[in-house]
Symmetry: C2
Subunit: 256 residues, 2 copies
């Protein structure tokens, strides 16, 4: 028997997309098999311990947890100190994976959607590969891809570029750059914003983009009040969107 056979695995556990909103039924958005996997794990590495405990409580309603919540080990991802340019040292990421080296499966959980996509979890996954720990992603939704599917924009070539600059001139330059790239490559460009700045970003998009660029806005995906609308910037200008300030939105553009 090789040592690897004694190692635990790193399970990437998807979360619901209702962070910050009224919770939806967990069964509506996560597969039963994923909930059963999550209910069995005794070790977790998570973006936020409080929301992880809330997640496990929701799981437990559908599939009883194998251990009482207080006996489940929940460790938060390390954060780089605010304002510090120093990266979190590789050793800190590897330390999180000690339970797997000792033979225990670990769950990785984000506050919303897939872990390690648009959140700091990717470094833990990279550390797992370095240590020879098997990484197993469980089926779940990413708001980015639901927004892309719902946009009707090019789904054969697309990019997610994270957040745009906050400063107005830098943001305008970045938008022109993304619009040019979209046109040259026929590539949909997706980005996100902190919810309370959604309105400001929407206004900037309507001001800066070309009239014939198609702009898709998705708010509150999988929520009852969620919506996606895609039309030319020219049409958006005639009836600007009313953006919620507490629900995440995903923006996508495709230049003509």
């Amino acid at each position: 028997m090789t040592p690897a056979m004694h190692m635990g695995r790193l399970w990437l556990v998807p979360n619901a997309l209702d962070h910050g909103a009224d919770p939806v039924a967990i069964d509506d958005v996560l597969p039963r098999g994923v909930l059963a996997h999550a209910a069995a794990l005794a070790h977790w590495v998570v973006e936020d311990a409080r929301s992880a405990r809330a997640f496990l409580k929701r799981v437990g309603v559908v599939v009883p947890l194998h251990l009482p919540l207080q006996d489940i080990a929940i460790t938060e991802l390390p954060r780089a100190r605010k304002g510090s340019k120093e990266a979190v040292p590789m050793q800190a990421w590897q330390d999180l994976l000690q339970p797997a080296l000792a033979g225990h499966d670990i769950g990785l959980l984000s506050e919303a959607g897939l872990p390690a996509v648009a959140d700091p979890g990717a470094a833990v996954v990279a550390a797992a590969h370095t240590l020879g720990i098997t990484v197993m992603p469980l089926a779940g939704a990413s708001a980015l891809l639901l927004a892309l599917a719902a946009s009707g924009l090019n789904g054969q070539s697309f990019a997610f570029v994270g957040y745009l600059p906050q400063e107005a001139d830098a943001r305008a330059r970045r938008l022109r750059e993304l619009e040019a790239l979209s046109r040259q490559q026929d590539q949909t460009q997706l980005f996100i914003e902190t919810p309370y700045r959604n309105s400001a970003l929407a206004a900037a998009l309507l001001a800066q983009l070309r009239p014939d660029t198609r702009l898709s806005i998705s708010c509150g995906l999988t929520l009852p009040q969620g919506w996606t609308r895609c039309q030319s910037v020219e049409r958006w200008r005639a009836a600007p969107p009313r953006m919620p300030d507490s629900v995440p939105a995903v923006f996508a553009i495709l230049a003509a």
Copy 2:
């Protein structure tokens, strides 16, 4: 009451990721709420009618279908004639949405994963937006994003570029281009290949990419035999992957 209130909606229904493999339990990969939605729909627009009927049979095992299978209207997406440069006319896409204009909900279904991502369904979604039909994506997994999450590569900036050229020189040029782009933008680049050409693509990647570029390969995501491995091209060269020729793979690179 406005006419829009009488319109049906277009539901984007995720499929499992086991197309071409032994089927997994549908409950392991799709949420109960999504199965319930799918079981209620009487009108479908699908990539392939045969696999759509197989999907509905699997759904029916968990949630009884509201109508007998033979009474459910299943229409395939139009395809551009092989070798023809003519696009499918917009009218053909709009015709598919007639049931929604008549007040019936429609499901859009791909052979695997999310509809309208890396498949021809995006044109139907675009037509729905043009006609003012509400588009509702249901929570489901995309192999592309599971592969990205499992890679541990940059999940804050990534692009999916579809298929690479088949011809060796053109493919080598495209790979150098993607590797340079990945380095300049610190952006993960994802691409796919027809399963029977997986081995040829893996060999080309090992031959063409720089030794310190990280390469992640995911095969058969969500399948029992599925795996993801991410390491430097140099390490891959020491132990090349054994690629399956009938299971989809997703490739991702991040240049150093």
